[in-house]
Symmetry: C2
Subunit: 120 residues, 2 copies
């Protein structure tokens, strides 16, 4: 039931913008809780990379006096990865296209992360 509710938030999120290619909710230890990914994208790989980036992001934020980590954004030539804490136990990871309007995506992702945090 909880997985269905999470999946429904992710479906809604992916539907808000054609620039969002995939999304997933991942426990902070890297296990997938729900995902809406395109065919051919491996759930375990998204989970593992999200957990690793957040762990190092946490440490970087601490070492450089940025306070508690909230988000990590990776920009590659072919698109973005945006990881956002949804409460303290989970992370919302979103993959977006290279020309995505970041301001809109930040807003939609923030709302989705708040919904997810309330469900968990």
């Amino acid at each position: 039931m909880k997985a269905d509710m999470l999946t429904s938030v992710l479906n809604e999120l992916n539907g808000t913008s054609a620039d969002i290619e995939a999304s997933g909710v991942i426990s902070t230890d890297g296990l997938m809780m729900a995902s809406v990914l395109p065919a051919g994208m491996d759930e375990d790989r998204v989970g593992a990379m999200s957990a690793a980036m957040l762990s190092l992001g946490d440490r970087t934020a601490q070492e450089l006096n940025r306070g508690q980590l909230e988000q990590v954004l990776i920009k590659g030539r072919h698109g973005y990865v945006l990881m956002t804490y949804a409460g303290e136990e989970a992370v919302l990871t979103v993959l977006a296209k290279p020309n995505a309007k970041l301001g809109l995506i930040f807003l939609d992702v923030k709302r989705a992360a708040e919904s997810i945090a309330e469900m968990l």
Copy 2:
């Protein structure tokens, strides 16, 4: 001489916005090439965390089909860390305040990274 030129680009960058607290140019293996940091912020720590984040960011961008890594942004409760490739050998790392106007910072950092890439 090259260090002076780099430092001058960093001074100019830090001067464009009161939201930019610190900046540094770091070789991709984590050694500081030039920096304009506030008192009490350790150069080696900035270099080491930048190199570690970029290395994992590179791998994440590859694994999740985002193409070649261009930037990593970390958002903490007390501010941002923005790492941007300046050519292939160096990285421009900027620390910014929590309420920074990201659009302006992205623009100024992009220009500074281009100047730095030309110098190296």
